[in-house]
């Protein structure tokens, strides 16, 4: 899995992931999310458009990132989840706490509300 962090408008960090977010990659992803918060960007948007598969460990990484972001005074929001990611978020009902947006722009703009 590849992961890049870009500085978006309003100090929001846009985290783009590519590949599978699973048992093999979750730990590194969680660490990068926490590092981004520690570096001063607790407002995260995770773009999942290019993530083909998320498993329970991947969800754990997103929850870990959410906790770090909340403790830092921010939040973690999901943008553009692929169909499989939407299914697993729905099965676990985690879509109640991980807010999902149709685009990165919408997710970033929602921080201004």
């Amino acid at each position: 899995m590849e992961l890049t962090v870009e500085a978006g408008p309003g100090g929001v960090a846009v985290v783009r992931m590519t590949g599978r977010l699973d048992l093999l990659t979750a730990s590194a992803a969680k660490q990068r999310l926490a590092e981004t918060v520690t570096a001063g960007s607790p407002r995260l948007v995770v773009d999942l458009a290019e993530v083909a598969f998320v498993d329970s460990s991947g969800l754990g990484a997103l929850i870990g990132g959410l906790k770090a972001a909340r403790l830092g005074g921010g939040d973690l929001r999901i943008a553009r989840p692929a169909e499989q990611a939407r299914v697993i978020l729905g099965l676990t009902t985690l879509d109640r706490v991980l807010k999902v947006y149709a685009s990165v722009e919408e997710a970033v703009a929602a921080y201004a509300d």
Partner: protein, 158 residues
């Protein structure tokens, strides 16, 4: 029992690094199902398998496979393998895993509960609960000779 419409079999190393092989087998299985003529299946989709059912089965297979690799064959144990058989029948998808790792021990807590405070959410322990939710049946048994045997069933509409 009727012959399956589609069958895929793979044997892979029971380690996290081999989960690519499991996903490749799933990809081949879904690709083969897409080639089944509509009359052979039981719905409007190829062989009656909709996208949601496909994702649910993939999620369950990945979780059980990850559990076998992560808990059944912990670091330091002798390298083992797992066998995965994916079958499409007219009215269901059936998946069989076998391996000779440690016995599965069910965790009592329900990690799928969504806490009021997200800071209380567990980050681990969701996998097998998720597999159960995604499927219609999930059976486990360990044979007297020490083989773990998993049977996953997803019923198809029709």
């Amino acid at each position: 029992m009727r012959r399956p419409l589609v069958e895929e079999f793979v044997e892979l190393g029971a380690t996290v690094q081999h989960l690519d092989t499991l996903h490749a087998a799933l990809d081949r299985f879904w690709a083969a199902i897409a080639l089944v003529p509509p009359g052979e299946g039981n719905g409007t989709d190829p062989a009656g398998v909709g996208a949601t059912a496909r994702h649910q089965v993939s999620i369950a297979v990945a979780e059980v496979g990850a559990n076998i690799a992560d808990h059944g064959h912990p670091t330091g144990a002798a390298a083992g393998t797992m066998r995965l058989r994916l079958r499409l029948y007219r009215n269901r998808i059936e998946v069989i895993f076998t391996d000779r790792g440690l016995a599965y021990v069910e965790q009592p807590r329900d990690a799928t509960a969504v806490a009021d405070d997200p800071l209380d959410l567990p980050e681990r322990g969701r996998g097998m609960v998720l597999a159960r939710i995604a499927l219609d049946e999930l059976h486990y048994r360990r044979t007297a000779s020490g083989t773990n045997h998993w049977r996953l069933v997803k019923r198809l509409p029709g």
